[in-house]
């Protein structure tokens, strides 16, 4: 494989540097007449390659810079987004945001923009970004392996680099690099009875091991052939880190203080208020969101430095997400959680030990089509996919047909038997890079499978 190009050694085509972003924000602010004006700039390059049936199906590169102007008069606010950055377009965008704001209604919950913030010092990082040739080589690493086994590989590579800047008329200016890369592959057997998956997620291209992705997917495809049907019901499950990463971050999306305080959330306390300080999970469970895990999570949407937030510590709910308005109303500090990053602390077990200690259970590679069913219990439904196996007497004995489950991640975290070592996984449904999801394998009892699926 050729050496990946470093985009942050120089100035990548089309991506704004700190000084360019600052000057663009200043130009936009110079047109502003509102009481308050905030500018949000995203400058991004994306490269992707898809492959299917052992060959590349589509590939592309694109770059774009978007500028969002939010103008406020008193408590009347509106925003306009454009991808045109010449003076005339910026002036038009500012004018339109101001006009929309003037014509809109007051928002009694409006919070004034923040003044300058202090950010921890950041060393600019070199983010490696793959060329079309790099990506085609990585694809070949997977398809060669699949073809050698007589199988069919399909998959996706996406790499993103960019910058993000926030500025406002009170003098706030924040800037950060953004980036992320993922590679996933689904390898199927030609008879259609076996399917295996492998995936990787990293801050940049240098963290992706295409060989490993291909090896895992190909091995699982072979082992998952000719699945047998097992009755649905409550089972002990051994969940690989990706399967854990598919389900656990859902808890953080549900952890909104306002919904909890208003009595419309799992985190609502009976009789009023929320469950902060109450035990909600097994005492070994600690769930955090840490900006240090990711590139591009160091600033919150309103310009504050992101902080490490502990949602659950030793099974006790420690934090919910408070926006600035709700925090002020409730006399709390607003939460400054990092976008998209989530880490579940691990333990001293491992996949091998979990399997060896299981008399009868199910080994799950990953979950799919995960959708909400009942927000009162964070109950979700979805299916197993691409490698589901029966464990009997401490050994993996059969490939089995996939299951639909109806289960809540919060119930799961009350039923944990063992934790392994956390690893970063590609947990998004569409394999987009997203944030850093770092999860251990888990062994859980009484996981609720409700029906069988014929899908392979």
């Amino acid at each position: 494989m050729s050496q990946p190009k470093s985009l942050f050694g120089g100035n990548p085509a089309g991506i704004l540097t700190r000084s360019e972003a600052e000057s663009l924000a200043k130009r936009a602010l110079s047109f502003a007449k509102a009481d308050e004006t905030a500018i949000n700039i995203g400058s991004n390059a994306r490269a992707n390659t898809r492959f299917a049936v052992n060959q590349v199906s589509t590939a592309g590169n694109d770059t774009d810079t978007t500028i969002t102007v939010r103008s406020t008069f008193g408590k009347r606010s509106a925003s306009v987004t454009t991808n045109k950055s010449d003076d005339a377009s910026l002036a038009a965008a500012v004018n339109e945001a101001e006009e929309l704001a003037r014509l809109s209604e007051e928002n009694p919950e409006y919070m004034s923009d923040l003044g300058p913030q202090t950010y921890p010092p950041v060393t600019p990082q070199t983010i490696s970004f793959p060329t079309a040739e790099d990506r085609a080589h990585a694809v070949k690493a997977v398809t060669d392996r699949a073809r050698a086994a007589g199988f069919i590989a399909t998959g996706y590579i996406e790499s993103r680099v960019g910058t993000r800047a926030l500025a406002n008329s009170h003098g706030l200016f924040a800037f950060e690099q953004t980036g992320g890369t993922s590679m996933t592959a689904t390898v199927r057997t030609p008879d259609g009875t076996g399917s295996g998956w492998g995936g990787a997620n990293a801050n940049d291209w240098s963290g992706i091991d295409a060989d490993a992705v291909g090896a895992t997917a190909t091995e699982k495809a072979g082992k998952s052939r000719n699945p047998v049907a097992v009755e649905p019901g409550r089972y002990t499950v051994v969940l690989e880190p990706t399967a854990v990463g598919n389900l656990i971050p859902i808890i953080a999306f549900s952890a909104q203080a306002r919904a909890a305080d208003e009595g419309r959330s799992f985190f609502s306390k009976e009789g009023g208020g929320n469950k902060i300080g109450m035990k909600v999970a097994d005492e070994r469970v600690t769930l955090v969101s840490d900006p240090a895990d990711n590139i591009g999570s160091s600033i919150t949407g309103d310009g504050r430095p992101a902080e490490k937030i502990v949602f659950i510590e030793n099974g006790v709910l420690k934090n919910l997400n408070y926006d600035r308005y709700w925090a002020q109303k409730q006399g709390k500090q607003p939460t400054a959680a990092a976008f998209g990053s989530m880490r579940l602390m691990g333990g001293d077990s491992s996949l091998a030990k979990m399997i060896a200690s299981t008399e009868r259970g199910i080994l799950v590679t990953r979950f799919w089509y995960i959708r909400p069913v009942d927000q009162r219990t964070i109950l979700f439904t979805g299916l197993t996919r691409d490698g589901t196996f029966l464990i009997e007497n401490g050994k993996v004995t059969h490939a089995i047909k996939n299951f639909r489950y109806n289960e809540s991640p919060i119930f799961m975290l009350n039923n944990v038997e063992a934790f392994g070592t956390p690893v970063r996984v590609s947990a998004s449904e569409d394999s987009s890079p997203g944030g850093a999801i770092i999860m251990p394998p888990l062994k859980i009892h009484d996981f609720n499978f409700t029906s069988l699926s014929d899908a392979v």
Partner: protein, 537 residues
């Protein structure tokens, strides 16, 4: 810089100098932005597209196309008695797709100058050539006729001409109407509008300019009492490919109290007993079941394995064992694909590779007849069309969500056709002895081959002896697709036809959103497995 951009800047400069924008605001502001959009027949855009096609050909492309797209959107968000946000967004750019050595390449940029357009065209060809090194089977495109012309969604009122205050007032009035209902505690409501002006030129000589509109109003009412809460979404008002007239026509304010009442009623509804029931599915619910279990598995790229890594494959595969043979459902099941229904989300003059879409039967009397296709995919079914004495042509299902994304096969409108008899929703309930009626789409999930699905809904009613006897809650049904459609035994007539729709259906990597409508009629499905979703631990 193009002529239209020069004109645009001139206009803005005048406005900026006087420091005043018209007092009605949005209408006049919109005209400023309108000047930056590609105007129909603009010679500058024709020139730019020619630069792209020439550069791609010179770099070695056997085929290329360029889409220049200007997309404007606006969202308004409210809760209870307050406005939460207004966002107006526009994006302008172009994407070039090139076929070289039998492989595809794609590149896109937001900089519309001749130099950049030519460079991006060469980039697209270079990517195609890089891809061709691992290509096993070259891409071949089915023939299509050269198209020139214009198309526009059938709107009456451009949403971007309507003052923002009117939109905010309408939503707040609807919220107030909902909050008047005793027990309704929270309400959110939104409006979202989109206008895309798209110019497509292909190396075959096609040059078409289209203006596409979409509108989506939505509301969610939550009732809460005694540690419980229940919500009702307004999703029986579907998103449509129409203008602002749709928002006023659907009587959002007048319907809000009903949604609020139903949210409150759900609090005291009976929790369903698990078991098998006959389901009477209202078209406001059934459209999503059709979307997931019929429309997705009949996408040819899925059937051929191209979506295995994300959206999945299909149980309707391989095509040679399925076409004309697969019994998908009962004889009452007739499914048609189209991009022509008035006001539908997928309606279009030409698709994103210049094909004029046709109306085609996917399932006829329960048996599979065809798949959804693009030009390259139609060639895969050449043998089938020949055996049927039909021309090998794309059904016009190529679509890209924006200039930044490459076009590929996306779902057209896929609809369940009405039965011959004049049967209504009420008639089906009257004919049902023990069942559950479901209104509105709710929770949904389906496996990667579209066999096993689970659907919730908005409102559920218990049917006994041909009558609705009360409301139920915690209802979801689980199904195996061919068994479910095989159990279809009663179907509504033409008068009961309703167009539901999905505003942002995801497929592809990078994932792209597509908007499609699904027409259908109330229908009955026998002996379906119903579960209770109201778990406590």
């Amino acid at each position: 810089m193009t002529n239209s951009r020069r004109d645009f800047i001139k206009t803005v400069s005048v406005v900026a100098a006087t420091g005043a924008i018209g007092t009605r605001g949005l209408g006049s502001v919109d005209r400023l932005f309108a000047a930056a959009q590609p105007s129909v027949g603009d010679p500058t855009y024709r020139e730019l597209t020619q630069v792209a096609l020439d550069a791609a050909r010179a770099a070695g492309a056997s085929y290329s196309d360029i889409r220049i797209s200007a997309r404007r959107s606006q969202g308004v968000r409210t809760r209870e008695n307050q406005l939460q946000g207004i966002n107006d967004s526009d994006t302008l750019g172009f994407g070039i797709r090139a076929l070289a050595n039998g492989a595809w390449g794609f590149a896109a940029s937001n900089i519309l100058t001749k130099d950049v357009v030519a460079q991006v065209a060469r980039d697209a060809v270079a990517i195609a050539k890089a891809n061709s090194t691992v290509q096993l089977k070259p891409i071949i495109l089915a023939p299509t006729s050269v198209a020139t012309g214009e198309w526009k969604s059938p709107i009456k009122i451009d949403p971007f001409d309507v003052p923002i205050g009117e939109k905010v007032d309408l939503l707040l009035a609807a919220n107030a109407a909902a909050m008047k209902v005793n027990g309704a505690r929270f309400v959110t409501s939104n409006m979202f509008f989109l206008r895309e002006e798209k110019t497509l030129a292909t190396s075959d000589g096609t040059f078409v300019v289209q203006t596409i509109y979409r509108a989506q109003p939505s509301m969610n009412v939550t009732a809460a009492a005694k540690g419980d809460f229940q919500s009702r979404q307004s999703n029986d008002v579907a998103p449509m490919g129409l203008g602002y007239e749709y928002i006023t026509d659907v009587n959002f304010v007048g319907r809000a109290p009903q949604w609020a009442n139903e949210a409150v009623e759900k609090l005291s509804a009976k929790s369903v007993d698990v078991g098998r029931y006959d389901l009477v599915l209202h078209p406001t619910h059934l459209w999503l079941t059709i979307h997931e279990s019929v429309a997705h598995p009949t996408e040819l790229d899925r059937a051929e394995g191209f979506e295995a890594n994300y959206a999945g494959t299909s149980f309707v595969a391989p095509p040679e064992k399925m076409l004309g043979k697969l019994k998908f459902g009962s004889k009452l099941m007739n499914i048609r694909g189209d991009r022509t229904q008035h006001g539908s989300l997928s309606a279009i003059g030409w698709d994103d590779e210049g094909v004029k879409p046709d109306e085609f039967m996917i399932i006829k009397e329960g048996v599979l007849q065809d798949y959804q296709t693009t030009r390259e995919q139609a060639m895969q079914l050449d043998w089938w069309y020949k055996s049927q004495g039909r021309p090998t042509r794309s059904h016009g299902c190529s679509y890209a969500q924006s200039w930044q994304d490459v076009q590929f096969q996306r779902m057209p409108n896929v609809s369940l056709l009405p039965g011959d008899k004049d049967i209504s929703y009420e008639d089906i309930i009257a004919a049902t002895d023990r069942g559950i009626a479901i209104i509105g789409d709710g929770s949904f999930s389906i496996d990667q081959q579209r066999y096993n699905a689970q659907f919730g809904g908005q409102v559920f009613y218990e049917i006994k002896g041909g009558k609705i006897v009360g409301m139920l809650k915690d209802v979801a049904y689980q199904m195996r697709t061919p068994d479910f459609w095989g159990s279809l035994d009663m179907i509504g007539g033409e008068k009961s036809y309703f167009l539901g729709g999905a505003f942002s259906d995801g497929k592809g990597q990078p994932s792209q959103a597509n908007a499609i409508s699904h027409g259908c009629v109330p229908s009955r499905f026998r002996n379906i497995n119903v579960i209770n979703t109201g778990r406590k631990a």
